[in-house]
């Protein structure tokens, strides 16, 4: 176990080195000259030269890379070049990160609350219409394009569309919440959270339901379940106390891995619903070619993901002795 953790820890800096190198190289060389992006087409060569010098773009690649990493280690990720001109990227991220984490926690909770019971029921009622229905929901959850769910669900539940809701004699609406209509984000405890959280949860629901169903089927087919049934244990106890506990182990792993994606804002959902999170920031940056922002976000998400992975592996090794040898 000790050797395993040490090996993982030794690999970590190497991994982070490559991740940062790739991100930096893509960000710097891919789009062409960032100064050109900043100044537009009509800048004079003198201005370009001056700015290149100011931002250090005239230095060799490795110097720029080392500078970037050195500054990043001190929490300085450079400045936004385009939309939030000259605001520190660190500050932009610090402002949007809490929003994204909150929204992601809500959507993961929603996913657990809906996904685990669905998978359980599907496994217990296997091959009945309930099972078929649940499997249909799972596939729907991973199949419906977010770019399609966004407009359609928005309109079904928005104030501009009282017709459908009124016909059902339910007078609630979740909108308007789009930046286009002047909607404002009111924080995590407002009703505006419901739709984005639900849309983000569709994937989680699908993954957890599928895993829970497969896990339960696998556990229910095992010898210890047969033993438990044979000794006359009530079916409810067999399911709840024996099979379900084991089927929940992989669910815990999946949730552990999702810890890493807590900081990853969904850049299709957040901008649509005007959620001022990391996803919306990435969306803006991607469109305005604001590479310092994209680089910092890619790094942030990658590092968090790697650390969460490590944590899960270590925890798993501690919890389940069978893994340690591997």
């Amino acid at each position: 176990m000790g050797a395993f953790v040490i090996r993982r820890l030794l690999w970590l800096p190497v991994l982070l080195f490559f991740v940062s190198l790739i991100t930096f190289a893509l960000g710097l060389y891919g789009p062409g000259d960032p100064v050109q992006v900043m100044l537009g087409m009509h800048a004079t060569p003198a201005t370009i030269e001056r700015l290149r010098h100011t931002y250090g773009f005239d230095q060799p690649f490795y110097v720029q890379y080392l500078n970037y990493v050195g500054n990043a280690l001190h929490g300085d990720f450079g400045y936004s070049l385009v939309k939030y001109r000259d605001q520190p990227v660190g500050k932009l991220i610090a402002e949007s990160l809490p929003v994204t984490v909150q929204l992601n926690i809500v959507s993961i909770l929603l996913g657990v609350v809906l996904g685990v019971p669905l998978g359980l029921v599907a496994a217990l009622k296997r091959d009945t219409w309930i099972d078929l229905l649940v499997r249909g929901i799972v596939i729907a959850g991973i199949s419906f394009p977010i770019i399609f769910l966004n407009p359609v669900l928005t309109f079904i539940f928005s104030r501009r569309h009282d017709i459908i809701i009124a016909a059902a004699h339910i007078s609630f609406s979740l909108g308007p919440f789009l930046p286009m209509t002047g909607g404002q984000w009111d924080g995590i405890f407002s009703t505006k959270v419901i739709l984005p959280a639900f849309i983000e949860a569709t994937g989680v629901i699908a993954v957890l339901t599928r895993q829970m169903r497969a896990g339960m089927l696998e556990e229910l087919g095992k010898d210890y379940v047969r033993t438990a049934r044979a000794k006359g244990l009530r079916e409810r106890l067999v399911v709840v106390r024996h099979a379900m506990r084991n089927a929940l182990i992989p669910i815990a792993t999946i949730l552990g891995l999702m810890l890493g994606s807590l900081v990853a804002g969904d850049f299709l959902v957040e901008p649509w619903f005007g959620v001022p999170g990391v996803g919306a920031l990435a969306f803006d940056a991607l469109f305005s070619r604001d590479y310092y922002v994209i680089m910092a976000l890619t790094l942030l998400i990658a590092i968090t993901y790697v650390l969460a992975n490590l944590l899960v592996d270590v925890m798993y090794g501690l919890l389940d002795p069978r893994i340690r040898q591997a």
Binding site: I147, E218, A282
Partner: protein, 321 residues
């Protein structure tokens, strides 16, 4: 899960069946209604993609300002968009874009992932370490955001390169967009497949028939290609089938965001993006503008997932009979 898959493959070796494994697979698949439906949708899309010029009733980029934003009718089955382009023709040509991207990305993923994964699993040692570490690095990046990052950053470079070697027309046409999308998705996509193949190869490598093949001096590449890979194939097929749905979705997202295929090259993603603003202002009168491309894209992703699910069950009868 992978362990039980290899078990199921093993038990096949001991039982004699009257029919070939392929025939049994097909008959199991045919009994699975969703999978059958999925296969039919996939087949239909492929046919539409191949015969797009025959099926489309107008050129996909022919604008007609006298007939903008018309509801579906006999002349325009799916209506027309804000420039009066026939939506049916654009969707049909969009199928060609989608199928082309799906096939190329899958081939790229197979070409990189299968040999690398097989080599890693078979040889172990430093080959294994190298391949799996590279895969680790790719996995560290945040999924779709990384794909978008790559697509957004390499495109100006590729366009500049094409211009510099005198391919100005190519740079101006939409074809380079395909290269960008395929590259971005392929580079990221092979790692998962490599991991899967490696795991399967590890499970099969120690079996007796491999040992006997090695013992009678079969060349290494032949041992891998003839004896190991065919036995490691089942989960790869399932993963590819499900992956194709993801590729279609990713291409849709890329094009929706304007990083993938650019208009007028039709893609379901950019059709959706073109129409979304219009739809927003006039809802619900022009719902078909968003509904049709959205449902088509969703149906294709559905189809691949159903097919993958069905293949999974047909290939692993022990897990879910």
């Amino acid at each position: 899960m992978t362990a039980s898959i290899s078990v199921s493959m093993r038990s096949d070796g001991f039982t004699r069946h009257a029919r070939s494994p392929e025939a049994r697979l097909l008959s199991r698949l045919a009994r699975n209604l969703p999978a059958l439906l999925g296969a039919m949708v996939v087949l239909a899309v492929v046919i539409v993609a191949i015969f797009a010029p025959v099926i489309a009733r107008y050129p996909y980029d022919q604008t007609n300002l006298d007939a903008i934003e018309q509801a579906p009718s006999a002349a325009h089955w799916f209506g027309t968009d804000a420039l009066g382009r026939d939506m049916f023709s654009r969707i049909v040509w969009g199928a060609r874009s989608a199928v082309f991207v799906i096939v190329m990305v899958t081939l790229l993923g197979l070409a990189l992932g299968v040999p690398l994964g097989a080599a890693a699993g078979y040889f172990g040692g430093w080959v294994d370490t190298l391949v799996m570490r590279v895969a680790d690095i790719l996995f560290a990046f945040p999924g779709l955001l990384f794909v978008f990052f790559i697509a957004a950053t390499i495109k100006p470079g590729i366009v500049a390169w094409a211009r510099s070697i005198g391919l100005t027309d190519l740079a101006r046409s939409g074809y380079l967009d395909y290269a960008v999308v395929i590259f971005a998705l392929g580079v990221v996509g092979w790692a998962g497949l490599a991991r899967l193949v490696r795991g399967q190869v590890l499970a099969v490598r120690e079996r007796e028939f491999v040992l006997s093949a090695q013992a009678i001096g079969v060349p290494t590449w032949k041992v891998i290609a003839r004896h190991i890979l065919p036995n490691a194939l089942a989960p790869v097929i399932v993963s590819i089938s499900m992956g194709m749905g993801d590729i279609a979705l990713s291409e849709g997202y890329l094009s929706f965001l304007g990083i993938g295929l650019q208009p007028p090259t039709p893609s379901w993603g950019n059709i959706l993006a073109d129409n979304a603003g219009r739809y927003w202002r006039t809802f619900p009168q022009m719902i078909w503008l968003v509904l049709i491309p959205g449902v088509v894209l969703a149906a294709v992703v559905f189809a691949f997932n159903f097919l993958g699910d069905g293949l999974n069950e047909a290939l692993n009868p022990e897990i879910s009979p």
